[in-house]
Homo-oligomer: 472 residues x 2
Amino acid sequence: MKKLEDICRTVLRRIRPKRVERKRILELADRMRLRVSDAASESGLDAEVRIDGSVAKDTWLRGEADIDIFMRVSPALSRDELETTCLRVVRKALKGYRIIERFAEHPYVETWIAETRVNLVPCYRVEKGKWKSATDRTPFHTEYMKSHLDESLRDETRLLKKFMKGIGVYGAEIKVSGFSGMLCETLSLFYGTFRNTVTHASNWRRGETIDVERYYEGRREEIERLFDNPLVVIDPIDLGRNVAAAVADRKMWEFVAASRAFIQQPSLRFFYPTVAKPFGVRQLRSIIADRGSALLLIQIGRVDAVVDILWSQLYKTERSLRNLLQENDFEVIKSASWSDEEACNAILFELTDATLSPSKRHLGPPVSRREESKNFLEKHLKREDTVSGPWVEGDRWIVEKLRRNNSAEALLRSGLSSGGKSIGVAGLVADTVKRGFQILLNEEITSLYRSNRQFARFLCGFLKGRPIWIDS
Amino acid sequence: MKKLEDICRTVLRRIRPKRVERKRILELADRMRLRVSDAASESGLDAEVRIDGSVAKDTWLRGEADIDIFMRVSPALSRDELETTCLRVVRKALKGYRIIERFAEHPYVETWIAETRVNLVPCYRVEKGKWKSATDRTPFHTEYMKSHLDESLRDETRLLKKFMKGIGVYGAEIKVSGFSGMLCETLSLFYGTFRNTVTHASNWRRGETIDVERYYEGRREEIERLFDNPLVVIDPIDLGRNVAAAVADRKMWEFVAASRAFIQQPSLRFFYPTVAKPFGVRQLRSIIADRGSALLLIQIGRVDAVVDILWSQLYKTERSLRNLLQENDFEVIKSASWSDEEACNAILFELTDATLSPSKRHLGPPVSRREESKNFLEKHLKREDTVSGPWVEGDRWIVEKLRRNNSAEALLRSGLSSGGKSIGVAGLVADTVKRGFQILLNEEITSLYRSNRQFARFLCGFLKGRPIWIDS
């Protein structure tokens, strides 16, 4: 077993940006900053244009720099003006480059220059605390981290980020619902070292609170009142905000579990997981057949939404369909959503059975409740779908009923037939469903598997069902 | 709709013993009393021999008289002496008659004379309250009812008994676990009329208490402390005893439900249910096939026990096997025990499925519990019976496992293979099981159905699953 320190040293050697890359990125960032700044001046827009994010804070990983250029404009501008004016300036500055307009809480622009992603983000130049838009805090975060992270802490942050990427919990976007870069920096600042972070994370409890600036000293119970998240990390520049608000239960606990496993048996695989090659189609077929459970895939086309909205709609739809299945007594072993973020989206269920017994036991009211008993008897006596009973068992009425739906496929098909809004399918997904959907059962899924490598990898992970760091 | 009073009058005309039958029964009873009394004298046994029970109280139904002859002997006799001496006297008295030795709390003798059952029961001649055996109270009950029931109350009691027989809740023996004759008399005494009894019973609640002698006046809450039965009727001659102790939940609530139905729509069928003719074998086959559920019958031979013990052992075994099935995820819609009380006993289950999916979802501990999580991972990682996972869902570990048993028949077969005591099969039943058992699935059950008319009637009732008064 290698020692934890040796492994960290090895990883750091691989992820710390080299001088030449650093120079290239910083020069590119500065060039972009000037370009936007000039375009703003020319347009008569009073904007403070600055480099923010991990490049500014020097916490980025080798080969993975994202350049964030922020344009701070007067808070006197309306939201509409902010959006239209800034976008106009950005378009002018990037004339000749292919740009992608994106949307988080408000619009921003993404472009790629020499394989480096550059985000151009408008925000308001407000005083600390007087936030007008969600991105107004970023420049304050940059300044805070620049003044608090020394070289050693920047390295520890890089290790933590790489670890989180390796185990699949890095990223605050809805698809991942994990740990943001700012959250990694704040954790590193609080715990001092990567080792200390994972050691403490091993013992985190639900509602774990971290308050690096001690805003709540002497009144920590107030934190519990204010925030209802599995992990609460008070923003060092805003005591009213939880930097970990995006972290879903599952991602928090995967991080906790991986931290424990890493401490117990440190290994490079936590940082560099080996993704297994997908099974061949024939092998997949026999795996599905041997398993005996039922795989049921709902495949739909393009959803008209930006990426974050897309995933939030897919997840909502997955939850609704899962509830529908469970309410109809199907045992859902596992479910997941998948998207190529372009033309193909899918929701996958593993059920113990795709078909249930035709009848079921149905529990009625206690006989002592006279009115309920009367209604129960009226409802079930001499009805076509009453198989047997009602009878008295202990102190209650029981009846054996035919199930309304004993085929999962038929249940989903009828639920989705007009889009599925009434069964909780999210609006934009329902619009797509209306245009058509496919339900694939068990080995029928090989059709998509065969044609889409991304999906194939996803399905293999789903079938294994283990966090990647457990296996590799 | 006939009026309730008309129906009661009609029933009473049919169940009130006619003068000639009354004369015959009373003469027969007196003859038996003298015969036993003489035999006792001859044997030098100091015994007060008396007529007790419904014949003495004049609450018996036409054509259904049971004659109870009690022999009250000195409490100085030991239990052994009571049993051996009294049995010897009885045998002497009944020389030439076929007698059956029976056993409730202590032995008694049953014989049949001209189609009338005669029970000869020894007990102690004790003062009220100084009970030495369970039957010592009977003479006091007789005296109490003789002095409290006038002709009208005796008729109301007959109506209540007939109603309870009709709906299948009459009898304190374990097979029925219903209402004894003494309980019917006490209820009639308390409520005054049959109509009033069923009217009040319609609104009974769990733990309903009736205290005809007002022993607990001003401290009724004490009754709740003392008795934990669905129905509590304080014995009018013993404030420490619940006359309704034998009444099972199910029988109490069947009586309540039938009372409501009778009041709402009075009908002779509550007193005289029409038992449907069993289905033909071919019809039975198609009913079983159409139903889609699984019928599973365990058939065993003679159990060496008196009737009450036999039923208590069958019921215990039924509960244990039901638990076994449920613990292994089989959904038991309904179960029942059947016996011809001689050579053939059976326990019947209706399951939604006789075979389950090969794998199932298994819930693990919250990730936050470090020690439990460690054990869980050790238990399930890289195990042959782990199909997929473990993975994190929300804040818990989940894993997909192969079921140990997905065939109900195989599960029962293995559980019963050495008698089944370890899975809770009652001792005397286990002894029989050891000698062999049969498991019949679905249409295999027709073999017993064809050969045993009693069983055929039982199975038809089971398949219908409704109390008889609902249907007929």
